[in-house]
């Protein structure tokens, strides 16, 4: 032993600098959630999407803009939410499952910092791993600024919105992955397509509206304005993160 702890306990501090804490937790969660298995699986799906785009481009599409919008729409309906689910549900869910959450929870740090760090880590992984290849693949089909811009804006809004939802899901449920798949496939894919009222309850509808507005094309059940299409998914993410913070603050920690 080289030293001994000082005999006098330190005075109560006002708390750590939240900016530094947020950055430290963001880095930690980014490293923790990036397992080789997850990265390879999602990168392969992204690769598959790029191959699909190349196949579409090589088949001399009749209407490149329409084909491009369909391609982006398809990716926003499946690949992006699945990728966000894989990382978003695990980013805090893994810590809850293995009991290491205690090392974040029992600190003088408000719970929204943990949740925001998890959300930021999820977005950071999914954007280069999935969104960038999807936007690149879209440009292979049709490189018009309107379509590429719509893919960028729609993709970012989708990633941000789904990340909020799935980080919340990881905090709320022990088996968040199946719950998330049920949400993507059953709710967004089926129930929310049933009519105009139901479609208001799906992130996909708002992102579809962004695509439609920015490319001047009509997409079924994508009839919101550009502003609503952007704001509502972000609002959903904020509400989901607030709920996750509250839930985390009140949860039993192993």
């Amino acid at each position: 032993m080289t030293t001994t702890p000082s005999p006098k306990a330190p005075p109560l501090r006002s708390g750590p600098a939240l900016g530094r804490v947020l950055l430290a937790e963001y880095r930690l969660l980014l490293r923790s959630v990036c397992t080789r298995g997850r990265l390879v699986a999602i990168a392969m799906l992204a690769g598959l999407s790029v191959l699909t785009a190349v196949a579409v481009a090589l088949s001399n599409p009749f209407d490149p803009l329409s084909e491009g919008v369909g391609f982006v729409n398809g990716n926003i309906a499946t690949l992006i939410p699945v990728a966000v689910l894989v990382f978003g549900a695990a980013v805090l869910g893994d810590l809850i499952d293995d009991g290491s959450l205690v090392y974040l929870w029992l600190r003088p740090v408000p719970s929204w910092v943990h949740v925001l760090a998890g959300w930021a880590a999820t977005v950071t992984i999914v954007v280069p791993l999935v969104l960038v290849p999807v936007v690149g693949a879209t440009a292979v089909i049709d490189s018009s600024p309107a379509l590429v811009g719509a893919a960028v804006v729609g993709g970012l809004v989708a990633v941000a919105g789904y990340a909020g939802l799935f980080v919340m899901l990881g905090v709320r449920f022990r088996r968040a992955l199946p719950w998330g798949l049920v949400y993507i496939l059953i709710w967004e894919g089926f129930v929310a397509s049933a009519g105009k009222t139901a479609t208001k309850l799906a992130v996909r509808s708002y992102v579809r509206s962004i695509l439609g507005s920015m490319t001047d094309t009509h997409l079924k059940l994508g009839e919101f304005s550009l502003g609503v299409g952007i704001v509502v998914p972000l609002l959903i993410a904020v509400l989901a993160l607030l709920y996750a913070s509250r839930r985390l603050a009140r949860s039993d920690v192993a």
Partner: protein
């Protein structure tokens, strides 16, 4: 509850009629106590509710009834008080991607320590780990992981140190080292609470004891009082000998003996006399003389209930 002494210091940790249940299972039942500076051992068999009680004290789980306070604050609602708590949880999992130094430095940073890197080096030195080790903690042995957990619990120089079975997996030298460290932390005015199910381990802490059994606080007080209680309660002792009946006859008339029963020989094993006694120390002093009077050879004298479980059963049943 059996009161075995009283703590005179102002409590740094308080529990007031705290209860916790999971469905139909009562994990902690109506527990009240106050703990001041120094080392306090939370002693109880596996499944007694020690970990749940420690988690409640830290605010990791709320009591379903009653209240707990750390330095006068509710650790679930007042997050500032968490800056003064250091915890070694029971679970082994840590952040796998990090080295020991990174892990402890992160703990310091989250606590708002001014120089997290310096504090991490200091804390790792305390537990005799190399802060320059670049290996991930996943490659560490269980004992090394325990020491990393202790280091992260001390990095913020906490007033309250909560340790859930911290000596698990350590070699004897490291056990001795950490026991000495905990003692020093307690002597410096910190409130150190250590859970254990090993009586000898608790004896080495030389501490006050809270005995928990079946979710209830069965006894509180000085460790020596617990030891005395173990000696004072009725004991069952096996005496293996080559002359069963003669020894049994001598023992039945010995002072403090309540009952005698014969256990016949089986195979190569010699028979035994099973003795119930109200005074184990007196019996241990008189058994050799009884064997001598019976002209018998003593092959074995061993307690059948000198384990913690039997002590707890006795305390709870009183």
């Amino acid at each position: 509850m059996t009161a075995l002494g009283a703590a005179a210091e102002a409590p740094m940790i308080e529990a007031e009629h705290a209860s916790k249940w999971f469905g139909d299972v009562v994990a902690v039942s109506d527990v009240s106590f106050g703990i001041g500076p120094g080392v306090t051992a939370l002693l109880g068999p596996n499944g007694a509710g020690k970990s749940t009680l420690l988690r409640m004290l830290c605010g990791l789980t709320p009591p379903d009834r009653g209240a707990v306070r750390i330095l006068g604050a509710d650790p679930r609602k007042d997050i500032a008080v968490r800056a003064r708590i250091g915890i070694v949880p029971q679970q082994e999992a840590m952040f796998e991607a990090l080295t020991a130094f990174e892990f402890v430095r992160l703990a310091g940073l989250l606590h708002g320590v001014g120089d997290p890197a310096g504090a991490a080096r200091w804390a790792l030195d305390l537990v005799e780990l190399d802060h320059a080790d670049h290996r991930s903690t996943t490659t560490y042995s269980k004992g090394m992981k325990q020491r990393v957990k202790v280091a992260q619990a001390l990095v913020n120089d906490p007033a309250i140190v909560v340790l859930d079975e911290p000596l698990t997996g350590l070699d004897p030298r490291q056990r001795g080292h950490l026991i000495e460290l905990f003692g020093r932390l307690g002597a410096q005015g910190r409130c150190v609470i250590v859970s254990s199910h090993v009586l000898d381990e608790v004896e080495r802490f030389g501490s006050r004891v809270l005995v928990v059994a079946q979710g209830r606080l069965a006894a509180t007080g000085d460790f020596r009082a617990i030891r005395d209680l173990m000696d004072d309660r009725p004991h069952r002792i096996r005496v293996r000998t080559d002359r069963l009946r003669e020894v049994a006859t001598e023992l039945i008339s010995s002072p403090g003996v309540l009952a005698v029963r014969l256990e016949p020989a089986a195979g190569n094993r010699a028979g035994a006399v099973i003795v119930d006694t109200a005074d184990a120390p007196l019996f241990r002093r008189s058994v050799a003389a009884a064997a001598q009077r019976a002209d018998a050879t003593l092959l074995e004298v061993s307690p059948l209930d000198d384990d913690l479980d039997s002590v707890f059963r006795y305390l709870v049943g009183r």
